[in-house]
């Protein structure tokens, strides 16, 4: 009896290809959209939280100028000097590294290749606070730092652009007007939290950059990393009062520098992405609902024809149960096909989009099951319930249905 019902169900599906296709399509769209959006959202959140973790301990960025925002002007604020760096190192507790940074955009030339990048003049502390590892070569020596020698450590992007796959250590790069020896290569980090390429960088001793590139003793910003277990709030407070004192700010004056806690920024960012994911999920849930309503429509529109069909089947000797099995199997087969295709499409879409968007692909069984289950339930309910009603009529009433 079930076998017969299966046969009949498959026949009906084949016979009404358009109706079957639309039903399946509704489910595919609903399931696919929900899974894709939620999976991508989760991937983005994961990426940000990974970046937070890769920051290690808290990292503070100290920059001259008032708190960023509309109507604020940072041009007039005094820059930091090397003495500020030393004072921070000596007077603030719980610091792991304090790296001054002097940034300067430059054009680099090596052989016939050239590339525009940014030089950061800094100290060896930068490798700690920036969480950089050396892939080949070495860091700066004390001598190079003190004397401001023309040496540099380059990021992987700069290596690729200037030297291709070759080992750059020992080669020389022309930076603006002077030749600079490559003494090290950084381990690639990939994209940063804002989508920038972190590997597109050249590091030089602070003195070298000041003398040969900026021509001043100013320091653009300071990267301070805290020891594990240091209370970030306390460290920031200490740092602030030290800098206020050194910059001789009056009691009621605003800070003319600002301290950003990057970990906090990253956490805020991941919170935002979490909200976005929830939003996407909501949009996706709506599309699931719309898909469901689509299925409902198709099923209800075909009710008249199907009711007559049921009347005919009952009239020529089908049992109520046989008719119901047929309709149930039809609904289950269509919903399951739609669900599976939706899951497969979502998988492919997530794979493609996540690599396109450089976010990790996290397969989430729960959302796959939920989406599949929900749409399958809609398909089955709306395929089966009208059939059940029709099968309980006298055959002649079903046949007369309009």
């Amino acid at each position: 009896m079930i076998l017969n019902a299966l046969l009949l169900a498959l026949r009906e599906i084949r016979r009404n290809l358009l109706r079957s296709f639309l039903t399946v399509l509704g489910i595919v769209i609903g399931v696919g959209a929900v899974i894709t959006m939620v999976t991508l959202g989760n991937g983005a959140t994961k990426m940000v939280s990974d970046q937070i973790a890769s920051l290690g301990s808290n990292l503070l960025m100290v920059m001259p100028g008032q708190r960023l925002g509309p109507g604020r002007d940072s041009a007039g604020a005094p820059k930091f000097k090397i003495a500020d760096i030393e004072a921070i190192q000596q007077q603030v507790n719980g610091l792991k590294a304090v790296a001054p940074v002097v940034g300067s955009p430059v054009t680099l030339v090596a052989g016939t290749q050239n590339w525009s990048s940014t030089v950061s003049g800094t100290t060896n502390d930068y490798f700690i606070s920036g969480n950089w590892k050396i892939a080949a070569g070495r860091q700066f020596t004390d001598d190079e730092e003190r004397a401001g020698k023309a040496v540099c450590v380059i990021g992987n992007t700069v290596r690729k652009e200037l030297f291709g796959a070759g080992n750059p250590v020992g080669s020389s790069i022309r930076v603006k007007t002077f030749d600079c020896e490559v003494i090290g290569l950084l381990v690639a980090k990939g994209q940063g939290g804002m989508g920038q390429d972190q590997d597109d960088t050249v590091l030089m001793p602070l003195r070298t950059a000041q003398r040969r590139l900026t021509g001043t003793l100013d320091i653009g910003s300071v990267m301070v990393s805290l020891k594990d277990g240091t209370d970030a709030t306390a460290a920031i407070a200490q740092l602030r009062s030290l800098l206020r004192e050194r910059r001789k700010l009056a009691e009621n004056a605003d800070d003319n520098f600002n301290v950003m806690d990057t970990k906090q920024i990253a956490e805020t960012l991941s919170g935002t992405i979490g909200t976005m994911t929830a939003l996407l999920g909501a949009v996706a849930a709506v599309s699931l609902l719309v898909g469901g309503i689509g299925i409902m429509n198709i099923m209800l529109v075909s009710v008249t024809e199907r009711t007559r069909e049921i009347g005919i089947r009952l009239a020529i000797g089908a049992l109520e149960n046989e008719v119901l099995w047929q309709f149930l199997i039809e609904a289950v087969v269509l919903s399951a096909c739609g669900g599976l295709v939706g899951v497969a499409l979502a998988f492919a879409a997530c794979l493609g989009l996540s690599s396109l968007m450089h976010i990790p692909f996290l397969f989430n069984p729960a959302i796959n099951l939920t989406a599949f289950g929900f749409s399958a339930a809609i398909g089955v309910i709306f395929g089966y319930v009208p059939a059940r009603r029709a099968a309980q009529l006298d055959p002649i009433e079903a046949l007369r249905h309009e």
Partner: protein
């Protein structure tokens, strides 16, 4: 004399309710013995189709008693009545009621499928039934690809493919030319005389009614006259 195959006693059927109620059958008494060939005649709207639907267990009477082989049909549950239709009855609808987008062959096979016949049996039987009504070569056509008369013949094939105990045919020749009509009547006559199938047939044409051995006249929801034909 043994109990008649079919016995109606005081059957009424009322459609609608209250003001709009319409009594299509107003107390029909009728008994038909196994092996009879009965023609039901009467003006349009006299309740012939209504009576046929009740005889075919497709509808329930408002009151009265319907005994089939001595069994009170009212006391059967839905499944038992479905089984009665499946095992004993063949029905030709006035409006054909074929499954849309389904080939003639599959339409005719369907009752056999519900009887649990294997595929090979269904196939041969359906082809044979279609051949009997002159439709060999039309097996793969769907109702939409068939003329009204051809659809009617598919409906007849579907009703006779199971060799039912009773064949109920509501105007089986209504859409056929007179040559085809006579062919179908001869077929029904053979089914009746050779296989002993009891046939109850509604018709408007006296010519066709004369193939039957008994004519029941309906007027205004009542049996007006019940007589043997000269063929009997």
């Amino acid at each position: 004399m043994s109990a008649p195959l079919i016995e109606l006693r005081g059957i009424t059927k009322t459609y609608g309710q209250g003001q709009a109620a319409f009594q299509a059958l107003r107390g029909v008494d009728l008994s038909i013995a196994a092996g009879e060939f009965v023609a039901v005649m009467g003006p349009s709207g006299s309740g012939k189709s209504t009576a046929m639907n009740l005889l075919g267990c497709l509808d329930t009477p408002t009151s009265g008693e319907y005994r089939f082989q001595g069994i009170n049909v009212e006391q059967l549950d839905r499944n038992q009545r479905a089984l009665l239709r499946r095992q004993c009855l063949g029905f030709v609808f006035q409006g054909f009621n074929l499954l849309a987008r389904t080939s003639a062959q599959e339409n005719v096979e369907l009752p056999l499928l519900y009887r649990g016949e294997p595929g090979a049996v269904r196939h041969t039987a359906a082809r044979a039934a279609l051949a009997k009504v002159g439709l060999d070569g039309w097996e793969t056509h769907t109702p939409a690809e068939l003329s009204g008369g051809q659809q009617q013949r598919v409906a007849i094939a579907r009703a006779i493919v199971t060799n039912p105990l009773v064949l109920l045919a509501d105007e089986p020749t209504g859409n056929l030319d007179s040559k085809r009509s006579h062919e179908i009547m001869e077929l029904l006559g053979r089914l009746n005389s050779e296989q002993g199938i009891t046939i109850i047939m509604v018709t408007h044409e006296p010519d066709m009614a004369h193939y039957a051995r008994r004519i029941v006249h309906f007027v205004d929801g009542l049996v007006d006259s019940d007589s043997a034909t000269e063929a009997a």
